[in-house]
Symmetry: C2
Subunit: 439 residues, 2 copies
């Protein structure tokens, strides 16, 4: 009997997140206050984020951080997510590689984003916050935050990137079912939005712009905090539950990954699955390869520069030491809305610089081709973002076929694509473009 899915028992679930910063040889360079150019202290971030999140953000000493019990309780609603041996995909590719994926699409909101949304909403509630705000691209993060806010009795206001708001109207409906207020970004409700629309009335929006709007709302509204779905180090921290579970599940499968692959937007999905395994590369010299799959049209890791840059379009955030295409970069209108971001998180940027990981860029049509292959083979229609990880996995598995090597490949299926069927529709009709990098 071939085992296809590996689950953990409730008492085997992680009770701590893994903070890779504590183990990094070269720590991430400090975030800078843009006015003073002084390194940021946690207190400097208090006006925007919940205080505990600010401390986690800059924590370079504690390897493990306890997951609060109410957060663990919510995790138990959908975790562990299954680790799946992709026999169907292996067969379709006729590859000797052993392909595994961690299926985060089974989370109630359909993606890994809930792992951090629950934590962020919890800390906000603990600290007396009443309202949370955020940006969302494809809507995965916005949906997760909307539900998490509801769980902890907070009101949520979400700025959704306009192109996604239009491409994926039902994501908006999902957020509304969970009780959130959703505004397409750029909007006229903030100074940041007005400024951008004045220069370019037809601007389709970007995560960078939506972040500016949400940060501005948080700053201007008493009792309101900003939350973020990726990029920041505390978000990757929360996402390490994925890799911590996967590590135990791979053990159940009797294997250890030679290659770990994830799609890459701001880095939290990548860090989530990669960091717990990378720990053994840093500490014990394991030879595992880590591959970030980014869109060819938004290639911050493969074509960006490592430098201090803002996290948002307007320049409200601290300066972050990261691989970036520039905070004014306007990404092409690909359907993988969650990957349309100009920069990479500071931890991942440092790890990239230090050679612990590599990156590949994937064209939109190649991503959907891989996604359709995966759907037919495994029955799950992947999110356009996840299609990038699948395309990179397919490439690696085909190299194994050529070389006759049975390598073990693990990728993160960050979410399902059921809210993205219009994109598949366009792909199947041959109406999808193959944007290249226009920076």
């Amino acid at each position: 009997m071939k085992t296809k899915r590996f689950f953990l028992q409730e008492n085997e679930l992680p009770t701590q997140w893994y903070n890779i910063q504590a183990d990094m040889i070269n720590k991430p360079m400090p975030l800078l206050n843009p006015a003073t150019r002084e390194p940021l202290k946690p207190e400097d971030l208090y006006p925007i984020f919940a205080e505990e999140l600010c401390r986690q953000e800059l924590d370079q000493t504690h390897r493990y951080i306890d997951i609060p019990e109410p957060v663990q309780e919510m995790y138990r609603y959908y975790r562990s997510t299954p680790l799946v041996r992709a026999y169907g995909l292996e067969k379709a590719l006729d590859t000797p590689a052993h392909i595994y994926f961690k299926n985060e699409s089974v989370s109630p909101v359909g993606s890994h984003k809930l792992n951090s949304a629950i934590a962020q909403a919890y800390y906000c509630k603990q600290e007396g916050v009443t309202n949370v705000t955020t940006e969302t691209g494809a809507g995965q993060w916005g949906t997760a935050l909307s539900y998490a806010a509801k769980v902890f009795g907070l009101e949520a206001a979400v700025y959704q990137v306009k192109i996604s708001y239009e491409q994926k109207p039902y994501r908006r409906s999902m957020m509304q079912v969970f009780g959130a207020q959703v505004t397409p970004s750029p909007s006229m409700s903030t100074r940041a939005g007005k400024d951008i629309l004045t220069v370019n009335p037809n601007y389709q929006g970007s995560l960078g712009t939506a972040i500016s709007e949400a940060v501005e709302l948080a700053r201007m509204t008493p009792g309101c905090k900003y939350t973020l779905g990726s990029v920041m180090s505390h978000v990757s921290l929360h996402q390490t539950v994925i890799g911590l579970e996967a590590e135990k599940q791979m053990e159940m499968a009797g294997e250890y990954p030679d290659t770990v692959i994830a799609c890459f937007g701001g880095g939290s999905n990548f860090g989530g699955i990669a960091f717990p395994f990378m720990r053994h590369k840093i500490l014990e010299g394991k030879k595992t390869r880590f591959i970030a799959a980014e869109p060819a049209s938004c290639p911050k890791l493969t074509k960006g520069k490592f430098e201090y840059d803002f996290g948002d379009e307007t320049g409200y955030t601290p300066l972050l030491p990261m691989f970036t295409l520039g905070h004014k970069f306007a990404p092409a209108n690909i359907h993988a809305g969650g990957l349309r971001y100009h920069g990479a998180g500071v931890i991942v940027s440092q790890l990239m610089k230090d050679g612990y990981m590599e990156a590949v860029d994937i064209k939109q049509l190649d991503s959907f081709k891989a996604g359709c292959l995966f759907a037919k083979a495994e029955g799950i229609i992947p999110a356009p973002e996840s299609c990038h990880a699948i395309a990179a996995t397919v490439n690696e598995a085909l190299k194994c076929k050529e070389a006759g090597e049975s390598k073990v490949i693990l990728f993160n299926l960050s979410g399902h694509g059921l809210m993205d069927m219009s994109a598949y529709d366009q792909y199947l009709a041959g109406n999808l473009a193959n944007y290249s990098y226009n920076g």
Copy 2:
């Protein structure tokens, strides 16, 4: 630590389906050949269905039927589905009732329908069939069959009820991603479709009509068999994996249901969760209540007659002894497309007649109200069909609150509503109608 989800290990999964016909005191009355009025023999169904399915359909003697190993292998891809204690919903209702739901929405295609699709596709493949055809309402069954066909290397042609094809265009895309051909029904591709469109060019379709078209295609096409997503006894048989798992999982939870609830279209989702528990009512006199939740606008169990009727609009099928609104009944355009069917399966009809179960009817707006409450409480947006089961559960849980009783309620969450967000959109905007029975 409160346990929220109960899973079975792979070696605890059912290896046999449960055939309630063997245990029924009053067996279902025979299906009749409409021309001769003679009781049907399995051979009479061979031109339409795979032969093994015909034998299962009329089997009144074997209590348990082995699940073929290749079907078990596919089941292991997504089963067991979790049994979830709905603490969130209990809290939202402030009820002393213990509410559990079996979460079939985690199947790769998003609903319980895959349980029978895999079995049917498997038997067809075994018997040398190359093409399968079927009807689908909301698209849950069509999606499941499209994927199952792909798994076993069959081509699939799906007739989708026109109103659903238009209300839920992305269901069509899903089927197409899995490689199926999808046609809105009634269509001009069959005599049955042409006849109906000639009389009423704007007819929005119904499951009854789509069945006629698919049956006609199967009859006219060499190597092609018809498959069905509900109503027939062999479909309920396959769905008993739900209840068989749930029984073991309830045991893990240390409880036994006082009430089992499922939405009701043709009866396979209902039978799937109910029959394994009902076995103990028949054999051991357990007092469990079984409640079928049907739409107020399509109330075959609460307002239909028990009589011989056709399963399809045109009259291609055998005559079935069942509760029916008449095979010419045109259901209102509710969003719960899977419940828009005029009749009830023969097993359920007999059990209803014999008092083993009861039925309630739920208005469309009440179903969505319950669905939104559930979404906020549990994070899962339920299918419009499943919303009917939730509404019935909410009613029962509120009765418990009034009476101060801690009853144990189990319902089947047959699928998620992520492809039905347009319906939620209309509901939230106040644009949804509350159709009543127009028969």
